[in-house]
């Protein structure tokens, strides 16, 4: 069953005195209940904007976002539509996303209240994310980054979400804590039957937890597929470059392959395929026409 469906979403950022930036330029994506979808791409490719739009934090310019049959509307000052409270987000930086002046138990209780849950306590939620029950009386500054992110996850899960969104939830953490926290998010989301949209630029972690991977480049999803298939046989040249750039800790001393050039300015994207100026196998057609098909948006993999 489709839990979330994003259809041809366009999100634009308007800043007075600056050109219009189309951060998400026509992206489509679905997340099913109990499924983990990993969204990867370089910084500035629009993956966070997409996540924020799904939460209603950024308004969609065109395109639709549907959650459990309800259209997602931008958040305003008024109370959020009850039907949309099933979307919860874990943010990138747990040093900024937790309120430093409130006890963590009280912050988790906010989530429980949102779900109308009177039987579960904050301590129970802490236990679920692998922290001692008595931590509820402490303040965020008493915890390490990994512990804080666990608390943020507990707070999001307390609201009983059916869709959990992680916007780079592990990039601010120590290498030793990253895989643990990512696994924890997956286990908790899947065991409660919720879907998880996991955004990260770290492909090795996404590979570990995602059922499907979507690769984003300059506002568009260029390849989407089952994790194992994408990893074994990446078809889009951009996916290949991304995977090839990860250095392996094998002690062999092999320098990772370099992808020349920088991500182009999203305010002024190149014509045709957006990846063609950096693509090692660009053809004439790539410079002229945009490959607007799925699952691999590349002229080399045009569907018959």
């Amino acid at each position: 069953m489709t839990l979330l469906s994003v259809d041809d979403l366009v999100v634009e950022h308007r800043t007075p005195g600056r050109p219009l930036v189309r951060a998400v330029a026509g992206a489509s994506l679905t997340v099913a209940a109990g499924e983990v979808v990993g969204l990867v791409g370089e910084s500035g490719c629009g993956k966070s904007t997409l996540a924020r739009a799904v939460c209603g934090l950024n308004p969609a310019t065109t395109g639709t976002i549907t959650f459990e049959g309800h259209p997602v509307t931008p958040l305003g000052l008024r109370r959020r539509n009850r039907a949309l409270a099933g979307i919860q987000m874990v943010f990138q930086d747990p040093y900024a996303s937790l309120n430093p002046r409130r006890r963590v138990g009280a912050q988790i209780a906010d989530g429980l209240r949102a779900a109308g849950d009177t039987t579960t306590t904050s301590a129970d939620m802490l236990e679920r994310v692998g922290l001692p029950r008595d931590f509820a009386d402490r303040h965020p500054h008493e915890f390490s980054g990994g512990q804080r992110q666990r608390i943020a996850i507990a707070r999001a899960l307390a609201a009983r979400p059916s869709l959990l969104i992680g916007d780079e939830p592990i990039s601010a953490l120590d290498a030793s804590a990253q895989a643990q926290v990512a696994r924890l998010m997956r286990d908790l989301a899947v065991s409660s039957g919720a879907g998880l949209l996991f955004i990260s630029h770290d492909l090795s972690v996404v590979r570990l937890i995602a059922d499907r991977i979507a690769v984003m480049y300059l506002g568009k999803i260029v390849e989407i597929g089952r994790t194992a298939e994408v990893w074994e046989d990446p078809r889009h040249p951009y996916t290949r470059a991304l995977l090839g750039a990860i250095p392996a800790p094998d002690g062999a001393g092999v320098l990772p392959a370099e992808l020349p050039g920088d991500v182009p300015d999203p305010a002024d994207p190149p014509p045709g395929c957006r990846f063609h100026p950096r693509c090692p196998v660009a053809m004439d057609v790539c410079r002229e026409r945009e490959p607007a098909f799925t699952p691999v948006a590349c002229w080399l993999h045009e569907p018959a």
Partner: protein, 256 residues
């Protein structure tokens, strides 16, 4: 041996941060320093430059050639810092001055350490920008840090570090703030510069993949001590210390 650290101990406010660190850096070799945050990796790098936090007490020896950097008078240390020993920091967005042009930041220490005049310094700055592969160095020199992407900024920071032809380069998590594709370029650049210029590089990183790609020797730190040192292949493939093994096991990669 270009730089030899022996039995380095540092305590800040009565708390021991480093408890006897031994490291040897050689010209033309990249020495990787791994470990989780709080293990004292960065503090080791800062100690070499005499940039320890206020009130820190250091003992042991840091030998650069014949001189011990820990006992060097402030004036002599100033001549070493930025001249013979240079550093690249983690986040190029904060390590570069936002209000000074790239050229100004590249030439200031050159004129001080090398005694170049304005024209010579500028010419050398353009050369350096070319060396770290900044496109259009002639034009880039008059631009400001915010006009460059993260990867380009880190290249500029490396150019600044290299400006006075140092013997030792300390790179503290130089690619942590960057994307993998950009990281690949910076790692290639660092490796190339190390080989071409015969630099002794101390690469501080928590990413064992990065370590495996560029380091010749690897040291692993834990709680202010070096627990294992050895050639890259040995430490990463056949670690002898349980902590190194635990670090390697915590990496994602193998499907559970």
């Amino acid at each position: 041996m270009t730089l030899a650290i022996s039995d380095l101990k540092v305590s800040v406010g009565g708390r021991e941060i480093l408890r006897g660190v031994d490291l040897d850096l050689r010209a033309g070799r990249v020495h990787g320093l791994a470990g989780e945050s709080g293990s004292g990796k960065t503090m080791t790098g800062l100690a070499v430059l005499g940039l320890l936090p206020h009130g820190a007490r250091a003992s042991g020896r840091i030998l650069l050639g014949e001189r011990d950097l820990l006992t060097l008078p402030a004036k002599d240390l100033n001549a070493v810092r930025g001249g013979e020993v240079a550093m690249v920091f983690q986040d190029p967005a904060t390590s570069l001055h936002p209000m000074l042009s790239v050229g100004r930041q590249l030439t200031e220490h050159m004129r001080h350490h090398l005694g170049l005049d304005k024209k010579q310094a500028r010419a050398r700055a353009v050369d350096l920008l070319g060396q770290v592969r900044i496109p259009g160095p002639e034009a880039a020199i008059d631009r400001y840090p915010h006009q460059f992407s993260g990867g380009m900024r880190q290249r500029i920071a490396i150019a600044i570090a290299l400006a006075c032809s140092p013997k030792v380069l300390i790179a503290d998590e130089p690619t942590t703030a960057l994307d993998v594709t950009v990281q690949a370029g910076i790692l290639r650049l660092l490796r190339g510069l190390c080989d071409d210029l015969g630099l002794a590089v101390l690469l501080v990183t928590h990413d064992l993949g990065v370590m495996s790609a560029v380091a010749d020797e690897v040291s692993v730190m834990k709680d202010g001590l070096v627990v294992e040192t050895g050639p890259r292949g040995t430490v990463l493939r056949d670690p002898s210390h349980p902590y190194t093994r635990a670090l390697l096991d915590s990496l994602p990669g193998e499907t559970p």
